[in-house]
Each structure stands twice: as structure tokens, then as C-alpha cells.
Symmetry: D4
Subunit: 193 residues, 8 copies
Amino acid sequence: MLVATGRVIVSRCEEKQIRAIKRAVPKDAILQTYARAKIVVMKKKDYSIRKTGGKIGLLTAGTSDIPVAEEAKVIAEEMGCTVFASYDLGVAGIHRVMQPLKELIAKNVDVIIVVAGREGALSSVVAGIVDVPVIAVPTSNSYGFGEKGLGALMAMLQSCSLGLAVVNIDGGIAAGAVATLIANRAAKFRTNI
Amino acid sequence: MLVATGRVIVSRCEEKQIRAIKRAVPKDAILQTYARAKIVVMKKKDYSIRKTGGKIGLLTAGTSDIPVAEEAKVIAEEMGCTVFASYDLGVAGIHRVMQPLKELIAKNVDVIIVVAGREGALSSVVAGIVDVPVIAVPTSNSYGFGEKGLGALMAMLQSCSLGLAVVNIDGGIAAGAVATLIANRAAKFRTNI
Amino acid sequence: MLVATGRVIVSRCEEKQIRAIKRAVPKDAILQTYARAKIVVMKKKDYSIRKTGGKIGLLTAGTSDIPVAEEAKVIAEEMGCTVFASYDLGVAGIHRVMQPLKELIAKNVDVIIVVAGREGALSSVVAGIVDVPVIAVPTSNSYGFGEKGLGALMAMLQSCSLGLAVVNIDGGIAAGAVATLIANRAAKFRTNI
Amino acid sequence: MLVATGRVIVSRCEEKQIRAIKRAVPKDAILQTYARAKIVVMKKKDYSIRKTGGKIGLLTAGTSDIPVAEEAKVIAEEMGCTVFASYDLGVAGIHRVMQPLKELIAKNVDVIIVVAGREGALSSVVAGIVDVPVIAVPTSNSYGFGEKGLGALMAMLQSCSLGLAVVNIDGGIAAGAVATLIANRAAKFRTNI
Amino acid sequence: MLVATGRVIVSRCEEKQIRAIKRAVPKDAILQTYARAKIVVMKKKDYSIRKTGGKIGLLTAGTSDIPVAEEAKVIAEEMGCTVFASYDLGVAGIHRVMQPLKELIAKNVDVIIVVAGREGALSSVVAGIVDVPVIAVPTSNSYGFGEKGLGALMAMLQSCSLGLAVVNIDGGIAAGAVATLIANRAAKFRTNI
Amino acid sequence: MLVATGRVIVSRCEEKQIRAIKRAVPKDAILQTYARAKIVVMKKKDYSIRKTGGKIGLLTAGTSDIPVAEEAKVIAEEMGCTVFASYDLGVAGIHRVMQPLKELIAKNVDVIIVVAGREGALSSVVAGIVDVPVIAVPTSNSYGFGEKGLGALMAMLQSCSLGLAVVNIDGGIAAGAVATLIANRAAKFRTNI
Amino acid sequence: MLVATGRVIVSRCEEKQIRAIKRAVPKDAILQTYARAKIVVMKKKDYSIRKTGGKIGLLTAGTSDIPVAEEAKVIAEEMGCTVFASYDLGVAGIHRVMQPLKELIAKNVDVIIVVAGREGALSSVVAGIVDVPVIAVPTSNSYGFGEKGLGALMAMLQSCSLGLAVVNIDGGIAAGAVATLIANRAAKFRTNI
Amino acid sequence: MLVATGRVIVSRCEEKQIRAIKRAVPKDAILQTYARAKIVVMKKKDYSIRKTGGKIGLLTAGTSDIPVAEEAKVIAEEMGCTVFASYDLGVAGIHRVMQPLKELIAKNVDVIIVVAGREGALSSVVAGIVDVPVIAVPTSNSYGFGEKGLGALMAMLQSCSLGLAVVNIDGGIAAGAVATLIANRAAKFRTNI
């Protein structure tokens, strides 16, 4: 696969697997490991990502949502986008949401990915404010009734805010991929100018 | 029961039942009907509610949540509290939440009841801002996955905001009753002064 | 609301409600009723939709999925997009999928909405072929285990195809709104040229 | 955080984490570890809890519910309340419930937290007797159908007794926080006298 | 069937069906209709129930549980048992439970059927006091989360009290049948004396 | 407890716990360990079980259901009953069921406990043949959809056969206790003769 | 469609729809209505079913399962098979199962469809005896926990008997179609002889 | 058992169990271990499988579905069938499905087993194309909402394609057994020619 496309992306890699992959890197290739995202990218040394100009905003509600967000980030960057990330905004303190959101809007992003566990309210709040599409990612950071991300998934699908679509629980890669398609579509015409 | 306590409260009364009750009102009693709350209160003419001084804030996310909120309101008022209600705040437009909330805080309420369906995010937002206890009531205003209020219930139980407890779906009466106990407890000592 | 914005959109209107609305149309307004979508749009006579240039593909698996698709179509058109719809493609006969899909690709749509009930497989098949974002809408056309659209929702969230995000069951309006944001974002830069 | 507020509270700490924290205690701070509650509190040496005068009753149905109850206790005490705890009352033997309940009533508590797993019946029984608000905490002490606390959560939300609100499964901290707000609200006016 | 066994029992009969059955009663038969139980028994005029001596206690938590209890009662009586019923004991008021229970114990019943909806706590309380087997019947009298009797079923299966077995939701006939087998087994030897 | 009642029964004991208990046996007591039932009984040396004369049949569908059955057996025997057990009857081969069932009937048992996982059909088959009460115990021996005993529990509660009541999944102790109450009730009068 | 293939099959037809279809029958066609199966077949007068020689056994547990069984029967017969049906075998009385089963075996059927609601045990019993493939159809004839056919579906998927596959709840047409493919496959080679 | 039938098949064998079995092989027997299927077959040296002539197609959607497919394969081959397997067809790339499917059709297989996790769409696609019966096996290869194979099971039961029946999640052995019965039934008559 490395030979065919010049790049291999492996997600959900545990420590042990990363070490095994490290030993298998060919001479003409390099290995990039993203610890928090648990993603490993092996590339031909002469491989370079083609920048598309797509711009993606990326927000998380809590610190424990960051690994899922990082999955989305790595995928989006590997597919040519620029990602503007701001982590741990919370909802319990709504005032912490506004500033990072304003900055994203100022950067004129094409789409915003919101990663949240527990009650997943951040995606509703964000989609109620911005006018770009929002991709909501429920994470499994939850407990008791609604555990394993079920509560966040339900809340996101029930969202009163329009302009929001959802991927599966902990679906960082799915979110990164669909956000990239959205951003790249916009960038394609923007960069034509 | 009317004879024993001077008052009968009947909840979840449909039109037809209200008409039947109307025909059965004794001479020395009067009937108060609360159409939106679907509650009927029959009282001896000489019955009067003892005001406790308890103060309850009452918020709904949407207009369709109002009947459940009105259930809570009638119960709380019959149990002697004063209720300050503000309906249809939404979450999609977070700015609409702030002003009514400030007014409630200014009124120094003892507890706030938040009634919300769909993703139920309003309760998290409110509990993140105020420092009085919040009673969250999920309503069955929802559709598809998480319908019948399941999504709102899960989101409220998963809430990251501390200082919040939950009653069952469409549990307006349960919310009114527990909020009244909370408010009356505070009022008991306040009015002693 | 009509006065403020020049247009009111009411969804999920039953026959009876439509008749009531018809009687309430002011002199300077007209009423458009979309029977299959159960949507009613009331507009000032001088109101005209601003065409954005956004292009949306719209596919359904079966004929019973059409009402939900039409919801999405009306919303998208009212928000300025052009919608290219092709209904009843099925999956049982995969060959019926290919031709309409080729036509959509030829039309260079910015995003494709796939509406499907039962096993919801059409969205996976479509997202596996195209390279624009896909918004999948599960419908409640299902029976037995997985009824009320649960099977389709699960299948869409589990999709192996990347580039796909999901809205709630029967969420035609949610799909129309997010697809419009995606298409309009692309169109904004395309039409700038 | 220690610098800013003088205190850090960390919940759900395992043995190993506690040891790590112990090694990181600054010179001017002390560490309190609550083994059963799995909570660690680090405080500046000159930090002292401001007693609010709030009084909380705390009951558990079984011995296995105690860790969750202790979570609530630590939080409530750190927030200034006095907690009167009585563990392992059961429901199978209803006579064991009455005596501890009478003692709590005699102590004039502002709110009672009831922690119970399995069928969670204790909260209904208690709320049927007392006239202060009850916060019910389902625990994951259950097995088979209704395991992981689901049965207790359902039973508590279905409770026929009025004056009761619920937090999530194993939500000792959530219960402690909301009970404290309730108790402190009452105490605020009581201690003003 | 009437010819073969001398008796036909039809359960879950609506008004309309009862009227139809009434018209079909042969000359040599009589019809007994149990309105609350929705059971109709058609018997040869010379048919008489053989009394077994089995004694069954029957309790309900609320008034809305009575139809299910009556189902059990009719079946048990038709199978030869004597049923001692006491309805609407509640759990919210635990004191209301004790007196009827003492009377059942005094009557030396062989088994007690407990019929309860909502949180179903009555069965746990009863089984914790008596030393005869308890058959618990959850009813569909519930709302919101745990509706349709699910909460009561879970609570009954989770019961900490030993000596209790459960039938399906609204399973009055199933409860009547198994309780009769238990009571008749004991009576068989008792009456042998 | 040993001092008070002369006997302590501990269930669900793992190897390690058994070893710990073994070291704690007082001089005047003995320890009986039931490996398959994972039950440990510690008794004063002069303690002897009072035989009640109650007779219980005990059947399992498969070999993996035996540990749960043994739980029931130990409890029933400790409470004075005689247990006639026959394991691994299956349902796939219905002919294997008949012979052991005939033997139980010949032994004139007062009640039959049926322990089964997977589809739990054995309890329906048995209750359709015998005329003594049947206590059905679903076990968690299952896989895929309906795993953890849910399928067996549902099937047992749905049983068309009358004369059957159910305990929770893997509820060997609950089954043993209720079956003992049933058998002892019958035996009480039988042995009076 | 009638023109193209000479036949139209419409399932799940209510009374009202059948009357509408009756009025629309062209002159050169006839209409066959299957009341219990709720299926209507419209055929060109010169259309005749090609008999394949496939032989299908068809069993139901109860009388209320017959409509679903009839769906399967009509489909199978329209696709050229001969169907040998025996209804209302029960499982509560296992002896009622054996005779009809022997007759099916004697008729040398290629496949057996078993239609059952409630606990769905008949399919396990049948598959444990015969050596032809069994298609199990759960029906929605059930109540309480496991209602709407969920219990039967789970039990059938959990079946210990090998040689059995399952279709969705009330899936008479699905069962008829797959059984026909199985029978026709065998018949194809049998009739070649 | 080895003595009685000449063969023992043990499924779901872990490494450790295989080693234990290896040590217990009698002199006159041999052991075949199928690592991917986790199946071990012990046979008398003179035991030989009787080829039936039954032909089974076997497809998987992904590589992680192979172990379940191999279970089916080993069982089918041990029961005398020939299995034509093609793994990792996917659905995301529909073009990858067509070629292997054409080859299976060319081989004139009697039945096709389709093994798929995630959204399980492959079975619908295959059953829509072929005219032999399809046995669909959902696997537990899934994540988030619909995890443990629930999404694939639902999708397969909801399939719009006729001619398809389903076994439980990860039910490779169940699928192998029922497919074998189907294939052998056809082969019996084919080989008679």
C-alpha cells in the first residue's frame, strides 16, 4: 500500500502496535506517530501533503474528548486541510465558549467539528451561533445511564439547532473525513479565484 | 377528601373529565381549572392557601414544554410558593437565555425548575450559571432516536454542571413538589427573621 | 413573523391545519402548500428567494421515503439551493442505483442527501462511490426489530464508507438545513468567480 | 489550581493515582485521602472550610452502597455542611429503616440523600415519611436484568412518593453537590437569625 | 369446549366481545362476567367449583392495579382457592401496609400475590416481612422512563428480599395460576388431615 | 453472626475469598465449601440442619447452567429441603427431557426449579407437562443478541405454559429460597399427618 | 406491472384497500383475495403458476400466528411450491407437536417454516427433531416484557438447535420467499430425475 | 464421544485449550486445528468425511469478519459440503463485490453465506442479485451505537431483499449448519441423477 499510494494511515494503534510498526519502516519511508490520536502515518520520504486550502474549526467540551478530536485533526490535515483547534470549552461555563468561537468565525472556517461527551450540549450551543455546517461527534466519556456516549449521541441527534449532522460515538476519523469533504468542496472554488 | 382537607387536586384531567367534575362541585366549594396544566382544584369556599414565602424560578426551553411547566407551577402555588416563570428560552439562541436568568437571580429565588425536551441542554446551561439548586424536568417533546423524552432525560442525568437533580419525563408534578420542599425549607428560616 | 421576515415556513402540517392556515392568509401574502412534504410556506407577494447557486443531490431508497425527502427539498430550495432529486433507487437492485448517481455526479452537486428506511444500505453504497459529502437520513419505514427507523439509523452510523454524516430519524428538515449550509458554502466561492 | 483557590478535590482516584498525587504535594499544602470515597483533597495548610450550618442526612440501603455515599459526604463536608450518615438500612427489613430515620428527623436535617442499588426501594419509603426534600442516588450494585443500577434508577424516577429528585447512577458527587446547595440555602437564612 | 369440560374461561374481554358471548350462551349454561378483571366464565348450570382449601393473599399498591389483581383473583377462585384481597396499600405511606399484612398472616395464607406498578416497591416490603412465598406482578401503570411496567418488573427482579418470584407485566392470569398451584399443593396435605 | 445463628452462608465466593475465609474459621466451627455453587457455609460444630420434608426437583438445560443450579441446591438443602437434581436435559433433543421429568413426578416433588440459558425453552416444556409450580431461572449462558441471559428471561416471562414464575438472571439463590418456601409450606402439612 | 409480468401481488391490504383494488381489476384479469394473509393477487386470466415441485412444511404455535403463516403460504404457493400447513401446535402441550411433525417428515418436505410468538420455543423443538432446514418466524403475539415479538426473536436467535435461521418479526413474506428458494433449489434437481 | 461417532468438534477454543486437547489425543486419532476458526476437530485415523456434493458460497465484507466465516466453513466442510470462499469484499466499494459474486454464480452454489459487521449492507446487496437462498451472519465488528453487531443484525433483519434469513451475531457455526442442510438437500437430488 505504501508503494501504491506513498502513504499508509493506521488508526487506533496501541503502544505495542506502534513499536511493531516502527521496526517495519522501510528505508525510503518515515513514520509520524500521533500519540493522543493513536494514529500512525507512514510516508515515502518524498511524499508531501497537497494543501487544499480547506479550513476546519475543531472544539472539544472537555479534556477527555481530546483524543477523539485529535483523530479528526490528523485525518483532516493528512487530507490537506488546516485545522484550528480549541479544547476544553465546557458548557457548564457558557462564557468559556464564546471567545474561542469568535476566533473560529474570524478565521472564516468552512465547517466546525464539535467533540463532546456527557450531555453533548456544546454542539447545540455552537450550531445555534454559527452559520457554517457543524459536525457533532459524541464521545464515550460518560457514566451511568447514557454511558458509553449514548446520552451525547441522543442529545446531538435531538438538537434543536439546525445546521448540524452527527457521526457515531468516538467517530473522530468519520468526522475528520466528512468535514474535510465539506471544507475541500468550499476551498476548491475559493482557491480557484 | 374535600371534607377532610378542604381541597382536592386532580391532575392530567382531559376536557371530558373536567366537565364531569364541574357537575359534581358541591355548593360550598369552588372549582379552579388550569387548562394548560390539565389540573383541576376543588376547594371549600373558605379555603385559602397559606403563603410560605418560598420563591421558585421556572424556565422552559420551548413552547411545547409549557404544559409540563404549568403542572409544576400549579402544584407549587397550591403548596404556598410564589413562582416566577419565563417560557420559551431555547438553547439554539443562547443569548435568549441570559436576560430571563438574570431576572430570576435578581428575584433571589430559592430553586429553579428547568423544563426542556429534545436535547435538554438548557438545564446544563442554567445550572452552570446559577448557585441555587436546579430541578430538571425532561419532556416528551422529541422525535426519532431519543423520542418520548429519553434523550433529554439522559442528557440531564449526564450533565457536567453540578447542583442539578432530575425527575421523570413529563414529571411536572414531581418537580413542583420537590422544588416546593426546597423553597419552603429556605423560606421557613427566612420568614422567621 | 411574516411582517418581520417576509416569510413563514410551517412543517409537519396536517390537512386540517393547512385549511386553518389558508383562511388566515393576509391579502398581501400568498400560500404555497407542499402536500408530500407536509410543509406550508406563507410569503409576502413581493418576497423572492435569493438563489445561492448551491447544488444538492437528493436520493431515496423507496417510495415511502419520499415525504421525508420532500421536507429536505422544500427547506433547501427555500434557502436558495437547487435540488436534483431521484426517488426509489432501492438497494435490492444495485443496478438501479448507478445511473441516477452518475447523473448527479455529472451535475456537479456539492452534497448528496440519501433518504432510506429499512436497512438503510443506500447511504453506504452512495458514499462509497462519490467524493462529495453525504448526509444520510434514516426514515421510520421499517418493521419488527429495528422498527421506527432504528435499524437504518444504526446502519448509517456504522457505515464503513467515509464522508458521511447522519441526522435523526425522519429528519428531513435537519438534513435540508445542513446540506444547504454545505452547498451554500461551496457556492459562495464558486459564484464569486 | 491549588494556588488560585487554596484547594483541589480529585474524585475517583485509584490507589496508584493517590500515590502519584502524594509525591506531588507542595510544602505548604496537606493531603487528605478518603479511601472509601476514592477522593483526594489537597489544601493549602492555612485553608479552612467555612461551615455553612447546612445539615444533610445520608442513608444507604446496603453496605456496598457506602463508597457512593462517602463521595457525597466528602463533597458536602468540603462545601461546609454537616452530614449525619447511617448506613445499611435495607428495605427487606423495613423495621431497620424507622429508627435511623427518626434520628435524622430529630436532627432537623435540611435534605436527605438516599443511596441504594438493586430495587432502590429505600428512597420511596423515606420520601413517603419525611417532609424535607430527598435526593435519590441509584448505585450500580445490581445484577442480571436491571444491572449496573438501571433498575434502581427506573424505580427512583417512577417513585410514587413526592418530594424526591434523582441523580445519575453512582452519582455521589452530583448528589452531594445538589444537596449542599439545598442545605446551604436553608442554612443561609437560619444562621442569619 | 363447554361440552368437554363444563366450563370456558375467556380473559381480556372487551365490552363488545362480552355482548357477543352473551348472545351465544346455550340454554343449559350460565355466564359470569367479571367487569374489572375483563374475564367471562361460561359454565354448565350443573358445574360447580371444587374447593381445594388453598388460601391466597392478594395485595395491590394502587387502585389502578386492581384490574390485574382481579384477573388473578378470578383464576384462583375458579381453580378452587379462597382469595383474601386488600387493595391500594401504597408504599409512599408505609404505615398503610402493615395492618392488611397482619390480617393476611392471621388468615394463614399459603402464598401472597403482590400487584404493583410504578416503582413496584410493595413486593420487596411484603417479602421482607412474611415467610410464605410471594408472587410479584408488575403492572403497566407507570410513565416516562420505565413506562409500561418496565420499572416495576426490574425492581421486582432486583428485589433484595428472598422468597419472591415474578410473572410478566400485567400477568394477572399467570400469577393467579402459579399461586393456585402453590396454595393447592399446601392445601392438598392440609385437608388430608 | 456465627455466634448469633450458628451458621453463616456466603455466596459468589471466588477461590481467593474462600482461602481467606478458611483461615478465619474458629475452633468450634467447620467450613463446607461448594465449589461449583461458589458458596461457603460456616457452621458451629453442633449445628445441624432441621429437615423439613420439602421436596424440590431441579433441572438444567445445559452443563454450563449447573453452577447456578448448584446455588439453588445448596440454599434449599441448608433450609431443610431434599433436592432431586438432573442436569443437561437440553431442548434440542426433546426426548432427553421426558425420562428425568417422569422420575421427578414419581418422587412427588412439591416444586420444580428449571435452570436454562440461551432460548430458555425448557421451562415452558416442563411447565406444560407437570402440575406443580415451576420456578424458572434464566442464566447468562447466551451470546450475541439476547446475551447475558436476556433472551432466556424474556422467553420465560412470555411462557405460554401456566404455573410458572421467574427470578432474575443467574438468580440461583433467589430460586432456591422461593422454591424452599413453596416446598416447606406443603411439607409442613404433609409431615403433620 | 400486470401487463409486464401477468401478475401483481399486494401484501398487508386492509379491507378498504381491497375494495379499492376490486374496483380497478381490468377485464382480462381476475383477483384472488386471501383474507387471513391480507394479500391480494391480481392475475391475467391466462396466467398460471408454474409448479416447481418444491415442498414446504408450515407450522404455527398458536391460532393468532396464523395470519403471518398465511402470508408465507400465499407467497410460497405463488412461487410454485406446495405447502403443507398445520396450525396451533403449541409448546405448552409438547405431545401436540409430535404427530403433525411426523406427517411433515413423511411428506418429505424440503424445508419447514415455524411461526411462533410469545416464547417462540416451537422452532427450537422442531429444529431439534427434523433434519431439513427450519426458517423461524417470530410473531408480535406477545405482551409485557418482550412484547411485539422481541422475546420470540431473541429466543429463536439464541436457539441451541442447529439448522435454523430467522427472519424479522411478523416476516411472513420474507419467510415464504427464502423457504421457496430453498425448496425450489432441491426440487430443481429432484424433478430433473 | 470419539469412540461413539469417530469425531469430536470443539468450537471457540483458545490457544490454551488447544494445547490441553493436543495432549489428550489418543493413539488411534488425529487432531486438526483451525486457528482462525478457533475450532479443533479430533478424528479416528480411519474416519473420512462423506462428500455430499453440496456447494456453499461464503463471502465476508471485511477482513475482521473472517474468523466467523471460517467457523462456518469448517462446519460445512465437516458435514460434507464444498465451500467457495471470497473474503473482504466491502460495500464501500461496490465494484469489488460484483466479480466474486459472478464467480460464485458460475460455480452454481446452492446457498450463499454472507458474513458482515458494521452496517451489514453486503447481505442486502448480494441477496438482491442472486437467486439462491442467502444466510446472513452479523458479526460483532462494530463500534459506538450499534456495537457488538447489533447494527448489522438489525440491518439484516430489515433487509428489503427477499431470499435472506439470519442467524445470531457471530453465529458462524449456526450459519454453517443451516447452509449445509440447505445445500445437502439440493445435492441429495442432484447426485441421485
